[in-house]
Symmetry: C2
């Protein structure tokens, strides 16, 4: 289970952090979830800050891959955009979890700098993907694409946060529908 343990730690830490945040992530519970002892985590990661940074980095890397696959599979840019809310829906489907980086965004004041950088990278990945799609679909002019992309990202994050607080995934769907009806998202 050599390299496998490192991956298992990364995966378990992500799940915990998506439910309890950086502050709520602790080595004993994490180790128990993996099936090892807390001290053994230090064989793979030098500190909690490094662990969290690795988790956040892997998180946006996975998201980038997922978004690219979504764009590739959709018949056109507009169709890909229409499926964007599904990416955020999955966290809620996964035991009412929150986007890792939404949680960590709330915790910025207590985050080590290396973690903060990865959290920002996640937002950048999403905004860049959205902006590209908005332009390709001809929904907004290139010079207004990034602003609209940020608005969509922020609104979707807020919808996920609100739905999670009520543990009601149908509320997320309703909010997304409202965004579409109001014209924020392409219908």
């Amino acid at each position: 289970m050599s390299t496998n343990s490192k991956e298992a730690i990364l995966a378990a830490a992500r799940q915990i952090a998506q439910a309890h945040g950086y502050g709520g992530l602790n080595f004993r519970d994490l180790a128990a979830a993996v099936g090892i002892k807390a001290a053994s985590i230090y064989h793979h990661f030098p500190s909690k800050a490094d662990l969290a940074a690795a988790v956040a980095k892997r998180y946006w890397e996975d998201t980038a891959v997922e978004l690219e696959a979504m764009a590739a599979q959709a018949p056109n840019a507009a169709a890909a955009l229409r499926r964007y809310p599904q990416a955020f829906r999955r966290a809620l489907e996964n035991d009412n979890r929150l986007c890792l980086c939404s949680f960590m965004s709330a915790e910025v004041d207590d985050l080590p700098d290396i973690v903060k950088a990865e959290v920002r990278a996640f937002a950048d990945v999403n905004v860049a993907w959205l902006a590209k799609g908005l332009v390709a679909a001809g929904i907004v002019a290139p010079d207004k694409a990034e602003a609209r992309a940020r608005a969509i990202f922020a609104a979707i994050s807020g919808a996920q946060l609100m739905a999670r607080s009520r543990a009601d995934i149908s509320l997320y769907d309703t909010l997304v529908d409202s965004y579409r009806a109001a014209g924020l998202l392409p219908a």
Copy 2:
């Protein structure tokens, strides 16, 4: 400083929780901010859960008063709605803080039930005020008001969260402008 101390604890706890969340709120730092000893807080609040519930309750009560004042001062319902984003802007102006209940919404899994109830009440207050204003301004039909109100609340929460993570209040303003341009918020 009899009843004054209780108020001072409430106010300081709110400030701390808006920056560090429920988990990041601790009795020693809180006491230091008030100028008393940690054990003395127990004279005013029986437990951390009760303290946090009192803070969250006071938070939505203050918000309700503030929103009512905003509605009363504005010339009409549409004008009041237009000023809604200002309420959330103030947290960012106050040392880049987050809405107390947005932070606690992220922490739901670790929140005592009495705190959770007050966090939900905050959302209810906002949604009810927005829905009433949307109907009064003739922006949406009464049966669609609550859905739109929730969408506005969620989107504004997300904008505040994103702006805070970048410590950039102008980003909040830009996001609000984008919501207006897209048609989510009344221009």
